[in-house]
């Protein structure tokens, strides 16, 4: 609680105690008036001051004026009643002011709390970096470290700058960045990203980027600026508040003047000025727009904050809003739905153990650094004993002949098999096929291809469930490959064999102005497409500047399930916004009608104002709660 809030809390307590005490003390006449004026002034003096300042500065139509006029009016009515021999109700005026201030207090506490929550979530800013100077560790400001410098990160410390490990190995926790709680293990030569936490070993890291350009600065900047980009709902509310307050004030004036005049002139009845004045004042109390003005930006802020905790960075309230309306999602295949790396995907028609087949293939390819050879070695996943391999003969573009444990192995494509008069069994699968023959006898083949991510199928299913109608896949890959992936993932439509330029044209065709279109890419050479789509979603963006720049929504890791959760978060947020708009306006409108016909008194009016605001704020807080089960 800051100073202002503490002072307000004290005022609220004093005024409440006095109000209750006076209820039990029999006071009369002028003394009673003075007694009630004490809590009124304690609790309301700054509101009245603000109202006057507003009039002086010619900006009179704000909440302070409404409250000041309503409460001062109620006091005048009470005094008028006293003069007529009745008992004036001062409690109402003081209570209205008191509740108004309680509402304001609650609002500022709620906002401060959510601000703190989100600041904690984003608690990734490193305070210092360790550098070695004359054999000693010195802590310096991360800003002072330049690219190329060597920093040292001990266990338990935050990684202050992006870099490459040059000494040591460790596991690091990237949960604050990606929402992924399983630590990653890193070795010499691996990239390490600022904002993650070094869990175990001592690391020496060569810094690759200055602090200003490091991942952690980029993310913080992005989240902090996110709520500056206002959504349509927020703009609507801001505009609404601007016209709404004057309208209510003038309606209140009309309500105070016209009905009594009509009664005298046309109906020949007593005017009943005091009753109509009271109704007009009730009108003013109901009319404060605070519930909307506060709760809607708060909802967006909470939603963006909650999303960032799961590793989904949304660059602005406007994108959160657009995301909730997405009807068409266009995926780039490689790197989003598939891993974008070649892996051993299947082994067919093998006459010996799969492991043996992989072993022979890996040994035969041991001298090569071709991606295919690398994926074979990776599948073998054991150290390779080169002494077992002899007489390696590479037939360029076709394959390899080698002796392994003095057995002749031929590994390669159809052509090399045919050359040695071996009948290869054709494969129906898409990808690179490595046939293996031992002593010129066919032993089966290994399929190497880009692998679909394990989460992709579930992700597509969840996205469809969340209300997205069309899912389209674009790829530069062969039609055959695209078809297989699309079938497996149950994607409605695909366009294959596209050059980067064609992707942009396709997106423009797909954007027809009716449906909201999102594009999901990995940020590698699809930046223009990310920018062109209504919402550009970049995945696996950790460490990729181009993607963070170009996209509107950034997924820190490369799990496609996060897209579904991002959509879910956005829908939840927009639902809360809608609920708050309708609830607040609905209650207020009903109370305004009741007030105009004289059924609502000022107590109900206070509920319509403060109560509604508190409920709306509590509702807004729900946006912060995001279940982590994506």
């Amino acid at each position: 609680m800051n100073k202002k809030q503490k002072r307000m809390l004290i005022k609220i307590v004093i005024a409440s105690v006095m109000l209750i005490a006076f209820h039990f003390i029999p006071l009369k006449g002028i003394i009673r008036f003075i007694a009630y004026m004490i809590p009124y002034i304690i609790i309301g003096n700054d509101i009245i001051k603000k109202a006057f300042k507003g009039i002086i500065n010619r900006k009179p139509f704000d909440e302070s004026l409404l409250m000041a006029v309503a409460t001062l009016g109620a006091i005048s009515l009470a005094v008028y009643n006293e003069f007529n021999g009745q008992i004036g109700d001062y409690v109402e005026a003081v209570a209205v002011m008191l509740f108004y201030q309680i509402g304001e207090f609650f609002q500022s506490a709620a906002v401060a709390k959510s601000r703190k929550n989100i600041a904690d979530l984003m608690n990734i800013r490193p305070d210092y970096a360790n550098i070695e100077k004359d054999g000693k560790l010195v802590q310096v400001d991360p800003n002072e470290v330049n690219a190329g410098d060597i920093i040292i990160i001990t266990a338990g410390e935050k990684v202050p700058l992006d870099g490459i490990i040059i000494e040591g190995n460790s596991s690091v926790n990237t949960v604050a960045l990606t929402g992924e709680s399983v630590p990653r293990s890193l070795n010499v030569g691996d990239e390490i990203i600022s904002g993650s936490i070094n869990l175990s070993g001592l690391l020496k890291v060569k810094v690759t980027k200055n602090f200003g350009e490091s991942t952690v600065s980029k993310i913080l900047e992005l989240v902090e600026n996110a709520s500056s980009k206002k959504s349509k709902s927020e703009d609507f509310i801001a505009k609404f508040a601007r016209v709404y307050t004057p309208i209510v004030v003038f309606s209140a004036i009309a309500l105070a003047i016209f009905p009594p005049l009509i009664r005298i002139i046309f109906l020949n009845l007593t005017p009943m000025w005091n009753i109509w004045l009271y109704r007009a004042l009730t009108f003013l109390v109901i009319s404060c727009p605070c519930a909307l003005v506060v709760s809607i930006p708060l909802t967006f802020f909470a939603g963006i904050g909650g999303a960032s905790r799961t590793g989904v960075l949304i660059k602005g309230s406007n994108y959160l809003e657009t995301l909730s309306k997405v009807k068409t999602i266009v995926f780039d295949k490689t790197g989003t739905l598939t891993k974008g790396i070649f892996e051993v995907n299947a082994i067919h028609h093998n006459k010996i153990d799969e492991e043996r087949l992989i072993e022979y293939a890996a040994l035969a390819e041991s001298a090569s650094s071709h991606p295919i050879a690398l994926s074979l070695k990776k599948a073998y996943n054991k150290p390779i004993d080169i002494s077992r391999v002899k007489d390696i003969q590479e037939i360029s573009g076709n394959g390899i002949i080698a002796k392994i444990d003095d057995i002749e192995i031929i590994a390669g494509n159809d052509k090399i098999m045919e050359k040695f008069a071996i009948e290869p069994i054709k494969c129906h699968c898409v990808g690179t096929i490595i046939h293996i023959a031992i002593n010129k006898e066919y032993m089966g083949h290994i399929v190497i291809s880009d692998v679909i991510k394990p989460e992709s199928e579930k992700a597509i299913e969840k996205i469809k469930k969340s209300g997205v109608k069309n899912i389209i896949m674009l790829t530069g890959d062969l039609k055959k490959v695209a078809c297989e992936v699309a079938e497996k993932l149950k994607i409605d439509k695909y366009f294959a064999e596209l050059l980067p330029n064609d992707k942009l044209n396709k997106i423009e065709e797909i954007i027809d102005g009716k449906n909201t279109v999102a594009f999901v890419g990995d940020g590698i050479n699809d930046a223009p497409v990310l920018t062109r789509a209504d919402v550009g979603i970049a995945m696996g963006a950790m460490g990729s500047d181009a993607a963070i720049e170009a996209a509107d929504v950034v997924l820190m890791d490369d799990n496609p399930l996060k897209i579904a959760s991002a959509i879910k978060i956005s829908k939840k947020c927009l639902n809360i916004v809608k609920q708050n708009i309708w609830f607040a306006l609905g209650v207020k409108f009903i109370c305004l009608v009741l007030g105009a016909v004289g059924i609502a008194n000022m107590w109900l009016a206070v509920f319509a104002d403060v109560g509604v605001m508190i409920i709306c704020i509590l509702n807004a807080f729900r946006a912060l709660i995001i279940k982590n089960n994506v």
Binding site: K4, K49, K50, K53, N57, K59, D62, E63, E104, Q107, S108, V111, S114, R115, I118, E224, N225, S227, S228, K230, A238, A241, P289, C290, V293, V294, P297, L298, F301
Partner: protein, 72 residues
């Protein structure tokens, strides 16, 4: 030129009013008040002196919202 200032403002409506007031100040091309992070991004027109302009921005903001503060 763009600069970001830390501000202090209590209610969201007041933040909107501050934004309006800042936008109307001479020398300000555009202004965005971020109520949640308590920040004001001001874009200045070419050739204007940010320090001078900000003094006027503060003055105008004080007119609409007595309680606000901009840390220039």
């Amino acid at each position: 030129m763009k600069k970001t200032y830390k501000i202090e403002v209590d209610c969201a409506n007041c933040a909107n009013l501050m934004e309006e007031a800042a936008k109307k100040t001479a020398g300000v091309k555009n202004a965005v008040v971020n109520f949640m992070t308590q920040k004001m991004d001001v874009e200045f027109t070419d050739g204007s002196e940010p320090e001078e302009v900000m003094k006027n921005v503060l003055k105008n903001c004080k007119k609409v919202e007595e309680d606000c503060e901009i840390y220039i």
